[in-house]
Amino acid sequence: MAEFAFEPEPAGVALAPGETAREVAGKNPWLLAGRRLARNRVALAALALFLAIVVVSFGAPIWANHIAHVDPFSSNVNGTTVVDGKKVEVIQQGGGALGIGENPIGPTWQKNYLLGADSQGRDVFARVLYGGRASLLIGVGSALISCIVALLLGLVAGFFRGPVDVFISRVMDLVWAFPIFLLAISLATVLLTAPDGLQWGPVRVDPASLWIPTFIIALVYVPYVYRPVRGQVLSVREKEYVEAAIAQGASTWRLIFVEILPNVITTIVVMLPLMIATTILTESALSFLSIGVQPPAASWGTIIEDGQGLLYTRPWVAIAPGIMIVLTVLSLNVLGDGVRDALDPRAKLRLKRAKVGK
């Protein structure tokens, strides 16, 4: 997705609809933002939806173990289950004159196999819940890492400018143009084929670890967050009070963390929900292509891929995780809008182009 940057005015100037100047005067800008957000019912609803999805996903073990009594990860090809009091095979012989093929059962709309089984006889609904855990962990994790790294790089590049800026920005260009899929496939293969697993000091990296897609996705989006952050740092740096502080001999770190950072943080905070939405979508694409989350772990993307082979006969396997993704990403997008409106109701949309190397 293309990039854009928000350039909020320094907090304390703008007024949301229905606010008076007196109300906002002198108030802590974050408190103000919180209050505005609290008044935005649509955003609150979105937040509630997101939290509900999180709770339900992390409650997957409760569903699987105590309610439905299924094991969503073990191969269960010859398993049976009870539907409407009758014992049925989870994967049933195909029909037709030749009796070829095997079909998993479809949705039972009961506690066990609510949405039916996949081609290995596993409970789809339970897997979708567990998949949510993986997708959310990776999505939030990679967005956070991305934002933090981009923040640091943007601060450094924007503040010091000159050759430092050029170098970092060119590296970011390179990362942005680099094929993520190659990196993902290569890394997955390296990890899988290292005969004794991969060890980096005390850290043992398991190929099924969720950290791997997390880091890959985080890496890919650093340039995306970096650009607006850098632009913001550059514009704040040129403000008079910063120039004055430099003239007065203020220390570099104090400048960065006290004067510039607070203004840049708003950019990050606004971008965070949107980044989570983006990373969740990216993870699902990678997992769909089998180069994201690896078995035995499952994510929404891997389940959609499982469902591809059953698309015409058991479409729920592919549809259900997709619906979850849509709801999650939608709620994050709406929330993101609300956060942006709360931080600055008149936030302007501008395209910040990083002009490097001039």
């Binding site: 680099f178 094929p179 514009s235 990403v329």
Partner: protein, 323 residues
């Protein structure tokens, strides 16, 4: 300006070089990717293995292999795939590129038109229920994974409703070149076009709307209103045109990415033999020559698009300060 262009071009070459070297290194750091694994057949003698390695230049040093590959790719253009020795890489890309162009250009036309319509409508209808409704629809569009939407589209058009008048015209997944049969080409492309554009309609409608609202408060617009111009005239001639600057810049970047193979999942889901699909297959089969070619192709378009947009934007938007 000329200096700037030259500098960017130089930067482009540098980026491409760096990417190819990185690709090369990553590839050879991956175990088991030696092409002799597939070509040497079963139970080959050591002599056979050596012969294959020599043929592919694998018995030379890494820098020499890199140079050899680059030469075969750019100069003699006879670079051969690791997977099928009759497959020349450059012609394969040439054959795949029009498919990607068809997909991306068609989708782009649809999304530009639709997003302008939706964005303008949302602005015009601001204050009524339609504004938030349109924006929610746009948000839903952005929130759907493209490949999932494609799968659902396939489910409906190829199977569930395929026998109805609605979708019986939909051909099986695949591609027919425009030059061969324009009507077939169109029928193959229409569903992928719409699937790919849903995501971008949502995004660009929002961008345009925000941009227009932003501009609507600018001084020069207020001046135009004060002069007594009709609201519609103000909207279309002043606001929209200025807003398009942002729109066009963003569009350039996205278009560059897509043409460079970013529509990979769409091509996979719809069975379109474009560059994205070629990229993915070559990655899966660890076919370095094809990987290298597709990586260069993609990086080229992305970087060129970046540079073009930069230049355009600097010239067009006086408000943007040079960063």
């Amino acid at each position: 300006m000329a200096v700037f262009i030259v500098r960017r071009l130089f930067g482009l070459v540098l980026v491409l070089f760096a990417i190819t070297v990185l690709t090369f290194l990553i590839f050879f750091a991956t175990p088991g990717v030696d092409p002799t694994r597939a070509l040497a057949g079963r139970n080959p003698t050591p002599e056979t293995v050596a012969a294959v390695r020599h043929q592919f230049g694998l018995d030379r040093s890494k820098p020499a292999q890199y140079a050899l590959m680059m030469k075969r790719l750019f100069i003699s253009r006879d670079l051969v795939s690791y997977g099928n020795q009759a497959l020349r890489v450059v012609p394969a890309i040439k054959k795949a590129a029009p498919v990607t162009f068809s997909l991306v250009i068609g989708a782009a036309i649809i999304w530009v038109v639709m997003s302008v319509v939706v964005g303008v409508l949302a602005v015009v209808l601001k204050g009524s229920i339609w504004d938030p409704v349109l924006m929610i629809l746009a948000l839903i569009g952005i929130s759907m994974p493209v490949f999932w939407l494609g799968e659902v589209a396939n489910l409906i058009t190829q199977d569930r409703l395929h026998d109805t008048f609605l979708f019986s015209w939909v051909p099986p997944l695949g591609y027919t070149p425009l030059t061969e049969n324009p009507w077939e080409w169109f029928k193959h492309m229409i569903i992928p076009w719409f699937t790919l554009s849903v995501l971008y309609i949502g995004f660009y409608a929002r961008v345009l709307r925000a941009s227009m609202l932003d501009v609507a408060n600018e001084d020069f617009v207020r001046t135009a209103r004060a002069k007594g111009l009709s609201e519609r005239r103000v909207l279309l001639r002043h606001v929209l045109r200025t807003s398009m600057i942002t729109f066009v810049s963003l569009f350039g970047l996205d278009f560059g990415v897509l043409v460079g193979g970013g529509a990979l999942v769409t091509e996979v889901v719809f069975g379109l033999p474009g560059v994205g699909l070629l990229t993915f297959r070559s990655l899966q089969s660890l076919d370095l020559p094809v990987i290298m070619a597709t990586v260069i192709y993609g990086a080229f378009f992305i970087t060129i698009a970046n540079a073009v947009v930069d230049i355009l934007y600097a010239r067009l938007d006086p408000r943007i300060r040079p960063a």
